[in-house]
């Protein structure tokens, strides 16, 4: 599924460029959920932005493939159409953009490129209302401009709503748990667990072990100073919760 090999990424202009990822490798097979945990500044967001194709993240070495296809030369929207979804750590407020209109436009843009039939207006409204209930966003919230006036928690719910609507092949969840209360964490777990299946993969990026109580990962990786310094099973997350990242920062 998503295979990242020896990824080196620099950020910034020529003379101020800094290497953030320094040979990162992770392989998430289809059907699995992997967690990446790491301290602030270890390169977690750089990893998610680079895989999603954001400008300004310069890949100097390594590869990223989705189902065997190199995606590094693709535009962000081309990656999205391949089924790559990023749940943003800090979702945008976009004034003037109507939420329903945007999600429907995006959904149908993806479908069109994939040669699938567009979703009718009636079916769309039915679906988004159902999924809205699942993530805890009322019809009133869906009728607003995109994320305008939303709390941090509501913005994360909006990310989960889109993930539920788009049913991506592979989802990267960048600190989706930050700023969420227990009920919201459970909701995130519900959305992920409902989507989990043999054809789908998830990379869950987080500081804390808490979210992993709701999303049981198949593997946990520790990211420190731009590379994976330790991999293990779910028990690794527990160990980190107890003894912190300090040991790995020194090891890196």
């Amino acid at each position: 599924m998503l295979k990242i090999e020896n990824l080196h990424v620099s950020v910034g202009n020529d003379d101020t460029a800094a290497e953030i990822l320094k040979g990162l490798s992770v392989d998430v097979p289809a059907g699995e959920v992997h967690a990446i945990m790491g301290p602030n500044g270890s390169g977690k967001s750089t990893l998610s932005y680079t895989v999603a194709g954001r400008d300004g993240y310069d890949v100097t070495a390594g590869s990223v493939t989705l189902d065997g296809e190199d995606i590094l030369d693709l535009d962000p929207d081309e990656r999205a159409v391949k089924g790559l979804f990023l749940s943003f750590q800090h979702p945008m407020e976009i004034p003037g953009v109507q939420t329903m209109n945007f999600i429907r436009t995006a959904l149908n843009a993806q479908r069109k490129v994939r040669g699938e039939e567009e979703m009718s207006a009636a079916e769309f409204i039915r679906t988004i209302r159902d999924k809205g209930k699942l993530v805890g966003l009322s019809d009133e919230k869906l009728k607003r401009q995109f994320n305008v006036g939303f709390s941090g928690g509501e913005k994360k719910r909006m990310e989960m709503l889109q993930m539920a609507m788009f049913e991506p092949v592979f989802a990267i969840m960048d600190e989706t748990d930050s700023g969420l209360d227990i009920d919201a964490l459970r909701m995130v777990g519900d959305v992920v667990n409902a989507l989990r299946g043999p054809e789908r993969g998830f990379l869950v990026i987080t500081h804390y072990q808490r979210l992993l109580e709701y999303i049981k990962p198949d593997a946990v990786h520790v990211l420190a100073d731009g590379r994976i310094v330790k991999s293990g099973g779910p028990e690794l997350a527990m160990e980190l919760e107890k003894s912190g990242y300090e040991q790995f920062i020194e090891a890196a």
Partner: protein
């Protein structure tokens, strides 16, 4: 030939003078106006308020005598609203055919002078001197007109044309006025619109400009707004070779209100200038003004807005916002917001911003599957759409939205 009233006339000015002298009758007002114009000349970039819209330079070589072009009159997107339609074609006035509401009186009348505040305005002086006949439209006191009034300004040829309209909205009356500026011609068009909005009356004016890239156009709407009357205006322009619309609103009574929304969408080398002055002469006037300028390629979007508050106009509440979005390096936006306040108990504010599309938002939208073009279009629509979102009639708003979407399709 007698000596010219101009000193070193341009080809355009010489042509104007010849046309003026060929006329069989001119009133004293017109003679005085032409002399005023000759003294002032067309405004150029060195004249205060005209820095970004140099009509002198744009018109100097234009041939004013070029004729009109006969052709099929195009249908209008507003036809579906069943408006009372007036046509001003190359300055010639065509009154509506068929029945019109009895509360609406209209006719072709002799042109008038202008208000004192516009006497030193050289294009207005030229208009006063040159216009042969004016269109008068009057809405009876207390009448609520269910059909909108549509004045279509159509230009066909490469020459010049002038028009005047006089609109009087009676006490407590309520009217929707649509004005469209149409024609892909190369010529110069000047329109002077004097309006009186009597006590408690309400007018919603919608202005849509769809002109060719070579045309030069100047419009002034000078509205006298009386006590508790409401003047509301929404304008959308894709510019022209040189385009300027001035809105001059004078609050003559207490509790008058104005809403002015405008959007300029300029591509290629087009130019759109929205200039306004709102003069508060009496108490408790309210103004909400929002301008959105979007420029791409080498387009230029200009906004000049001024609130003048006289000493007597206490409790004035006036807010002005102008935002510009530049899509390319060569695009340009110029804003000049001004407040001139002589009263001490008022709330007046203005804000002005200029920026590019937000790269964070663009990336977000593209991550969701929108192409770069779709993402840009969605964000530009969100930006400019705010200026037309408040149009309360769905059928009118949808015409404006379509115009915006057509522009986005070509230029996003």
């Amino acid at each position: 030939m007698s000596t010219s009233v101009f000193i070193n006339p341009t080809a355009f000015e010489a042509g104007l003078e010849a046309a003026y002298r060929m006329r069989s009758t001119t009133s004293e007002t017109q003679t005085a106006a032409f002399e005023r114009f000759a003294k002032l000349g067309l405004p150029n970039r060195r004249v205060e308020g005209w820095k970004w819209s140099d009509f002198h330079n744009a018109l100097r070589t234009r041939d004013i005598a070029a004729g009109r072009v006969e052709g099929e009159r195009p249908s209008s997107a507003f036809d579906a609203l069943n408006p009372v339609e007036f046509l001003i074609e190359d300055g010639r006035i065509h009154l509506p055919e068929g029945a019109a509401p009895s509360a609406l009186r209209f006719g072709v009348v002799d042109p008038v002078g202008t208000i004192a505040e516009l006497e030193a305005h050289s294009i207005v002086a030229l208009n006063v001197a040159m216009t042969r006949k004016a269109l008068g439209v009057e809405i009876a006191d207390g009448a609520v007109l269910d059909r909108p009034v549509h004045i279509r300004h159509i230009n066909t040829g490469a020459g010049q044309s002038f028009a005047q309209t006089l609109v009087r909205v009676g006490k407590g009356a309520d009217v929707t006025l649509i004005e469209t500026y149409e024609g892909r011609n190369k010529g110069f068009y000047s329109h002077l619109n004097h309006m009186a909005v009597r006590d408690g009356a309400k007018i919603r004016r919608y202005v849509l400009q769809n002109k060719g890239a070579d045309c030069i156009i100047h419009g002034v709407c000078a509205a006298k707004v009386e006590a508790a009357a409401n003047f509301s205006q929404t304008s959308l322009s894709t510019g022209a070779g040189l385009s300027r619309h001035e809105t001059i609103v004078h609050f003559w009574g207490d509790d008058a209100a104005a809403n002015l929304n405008s959007a300029a969408l300029v591509a290629d080398k087009r130019h759109a200038d929205f200039t306004s002055i709102i003069l508060h002469k009496e108490e408790s006037g309210t103004v909400r003004q929002l301008h959105k300028g979007v420029a791409t390629d080498r387009g230029r979007a200009i906004f000049q807005g001024k609130f003048e508050v006289e000493r007597k106009a206490q409790k004035t509440d006036a807010q002005m916002t102008a935002n510009a979005l530049l899509l390319t390096d060569g695009a340009e936006a110029n804003h000049k917001p001004e407040l001139e306040i002589y009263a001490d108990d008022v709330e007046c504010a203005h804000g002005s911003t200029c920026g590019a599309l937000d790269s964070d938002a663009l990336f977000y939208l593209r991550q969701r599957g929108l192409s770069a073009t779709q993402a840009r279009a969605l964000l530009i629509e969100a930006f400019a759409g705010e200026a037309i979102a408040a149009i309360d009639r769905d059928d009118i708003r949808s015409v404006f939205e379509k115009k915006l979407n057509d522009w986005l399709e070509a230029h996003a």
